[in-house]
Symmetry: C2
């Protein structure tokens, strides 16, 4: 198993030469930008992909979908906004909210305050 | 696709009879207990399983492992404690920390303050 390591502060704990655990802090690894939301690839493996998106108030991940089988979870780590769906659906989103969606279903997010989102996709896209 | 819905406040958004998104709030759905940590099954599907564990200070998820292929993520939603591993390993854990582990690697958690943990397992155990 190989991990895709993109940040210098990620710690790989090894024992007897074997990779065991990857450890990082989302608040230290990713910040915000005025120009556009900031994306951090937290993990990518054959099992799942984990991404962290940080939005400044007003920034948006437009509604999109992929025609593949699988599901994703959207977790609001902090902040307020709206989950977006097809037909202009907009569902209030706040800290601690989780949405589970088929990967093939349209989904997106709009931030009303600075907002940290964690996305987990299985199997990985 | 069927979702396992265990809590009354979970919302299933449907369109033309099709289940699309599941929506719940972790802070509203799960609380703490003095007797033992509290476990909430957030989602279970062929793709992944998502669990929320809430620990009072001092409570612990003992080190364990399962001899199956796959990985899991441990995310500290809030609180401080220690990630536990084999050979009595204990790694400081704080809000925003993510650990990725093979399912087959020993893993656990000890809370030093009240702590909310999100566990995502792919494929589901």
């Amino acid at each position: 198993m190989f991990y895709l390591i993109k940040k210098k502060r990620v710690t790989i704990l090894t024992c007897q030469g074997r990779k065991e655990m990857k450890h990082l802090n989302l608040y230290e690894e990713n910040d915000f930008a005025e120009k556009a939301f900031k994306k951090l690839l937290v993990h990518d493996s054959p099992y799942f992909k984990i991404l962290n998106f940080n939005f400044k108030a007003g920034q948006e991940l437009p509604v999109h979908s992929h025609e593949i089988e699988g599901q994703l979870s959207l977790l609001i780590l902090e902040g307020e906004g709206e989950f977006l769906g097809k037909d202009n659906a907009a569902i209030p989103a706040k800290t601690g909210d989780v949405v589970i969606s088929e990967i093939a279903e349209p989904h997106g997010l709009r931030a009303k305050t600075d907002l940290r989102l964690l996305v987990t996709i299985a199997p990985p896209i």
